[in-house]
Subunit: 233 residues, 2 copies
DNA sequence: CGTCCCGTTGAAAGTGGTCAAGAAATGTGG
DNA sequence: CCACATTTCTTGACCACTTTCAACGGGACG
């Protein structure tokens, strides 16, 4: 395997302020791998031995309830860390990571984490910032589920998805990976039926265009009104 | 102000493996203060300048939505950290901390955090574990709100409260701080009316005893059946 | 070209919220 | 110490929002 090139990760916010020598050291310890669409990179409950950085693709982080129902915790985009159980002091992965499309990721053995924190403290700090940011996001989700109706939650979720993982098209902004009504339901705590009805209604009003595993937001402004306000749509 | 005694914090899981010299150093940098019941220790949005360790009492961590609705993020018990924005790379507190009863807490200026991580890495690691644990708890709450009915959520929440902050009484286990129906509603994403109805129903069945700002779980086993199963209560 | 997966839509049912009113407990000031 | 104000809690009635149930349509893929 040829050495990994520094350009893969330099430039990422996570590595801001990290000297080339440390970047090279990190890369020398990393393994690069490809994961086919819809395959699991790791599974919930599995002993955590590795942490990952997504270089390309999109990953769905999924948790299973004791009753067997799925909830999508988040989507991971290129440039983001995932599987960082080691930084949270966890022995096992608390969720499964599924490639939403073909993906490429770097991985490091958890065993080098102490050395990483010592040698590349900026990277460690970035990791902790990532965890902090995810805690904030998750708290916001709790607040939203506590106080907002389904319609607002779905609207908000779509807006976040296009903002974080959107791709400009001629019609509007498209979510950059295949996503089903069921997926959106598992992100918002509702059913695929309700999501389908909402998307149909919004499509009639020209706010979205959607199809099989595809959503394009064509009028983000109106959608934001639905997300924030009560009724307007 | 007399020096703080090591016995205040030795023994806490957070300080496991920390040598006496470092404990003393931490204490030498700490300030101790008392907070009267129902006063704010810090407010959401305020610039974070300090992190805290609760020595005695109970703290309610509250977030306000843009629309002005309150959600209780968690309760902090004696021995736990709070206000640790600095460890998450946040400039402002993401929530308010309100003393649920008279409280005593240590506090440190955020400025010494880099030195803390260097001098007392076990403590830093414990802090990151705390953040990781809170992320896990919050994720579980999202899952519960996505998949469970109000009745199960309230039952589960009560069980967690008595487990984490319970005090044995002759009748059962009592939540160790004043808590209203409204508080429980803000923890579970429902209304005080629904909580009141549930508590009344459970009281009729002998599973709880409750009164003004007071809840005692008298039959945790039955309550667990309600929390897990569908219908049984 | 058949099967599977994904999406759509109607109708019925039900959970939990909203509205309304009042009761009980606690605190306060005279 | 008592009257009054405030906060907390209770309960009934109604109904809106979502889910559940059911059935079908259509595109993708082997």
């Amino acid at each position: 395997m040829p050495a990994l090139d520094r350009s893969l990760i330099a430039g990422l916010p996570l590595f801001e302020g990290v000297a080339n020598a440390e970047l090279d050291w990190l890369l020398s310890q990393a393994r690069s791998a490809r994961y086919a669409k819809e395959t699991a990179i790791f599974e919930q409950g599995e002993e955590a031995e590795t942490f990952y950085l997504l270089l390309d693709g999109h990953i769905r982080v999924v948790r299973l309830t004791p009753e067997g129902e799925q909830v999508i915790a988040r989507y991971i985009n290129a440039g983001e860390l995932f599987g960082i159980a080691v930084a949270m002091g966890l022995r096992a992965y608390p969720a499964s990571a599924i490639a939403a499309v073909d993906c490429v990721a770097l991985s490091w053995p958890n065993g080098i984490w102490p050395e990483v924190t010592a040698r590349v403290p900026q990277f460690a700090a970035g990791t902790y910032r990532t965890i902090g940011a995810r805690l904030q996001e998750t708290q916001e989700r709790v607040m939203e589920m506590s106080t907002a109706q389904v319609e607002q939650r779905v609207a908000h979720t779509l807006l976040r998805l296009v903002q974080q993982s959107g791709r400009k098209t001629q019609d509007g902004i498209e979510i950059d990976f295949p996503i089903t009504r069921q997926d959106i339901a598992e992100m918002t705590g509702t059913t695929l039926h309700t999501v389908s009805r909402l998307l149909s209604a919004w499509e009639d009003k020209g706010m979205v265009r959607s199809g099989r595993q595809k959503v394009i937001v064509t009028d983000a402004h109106s959608l934001l009104l639905v997300a924030e306000h009560r009724r307007k749509g």
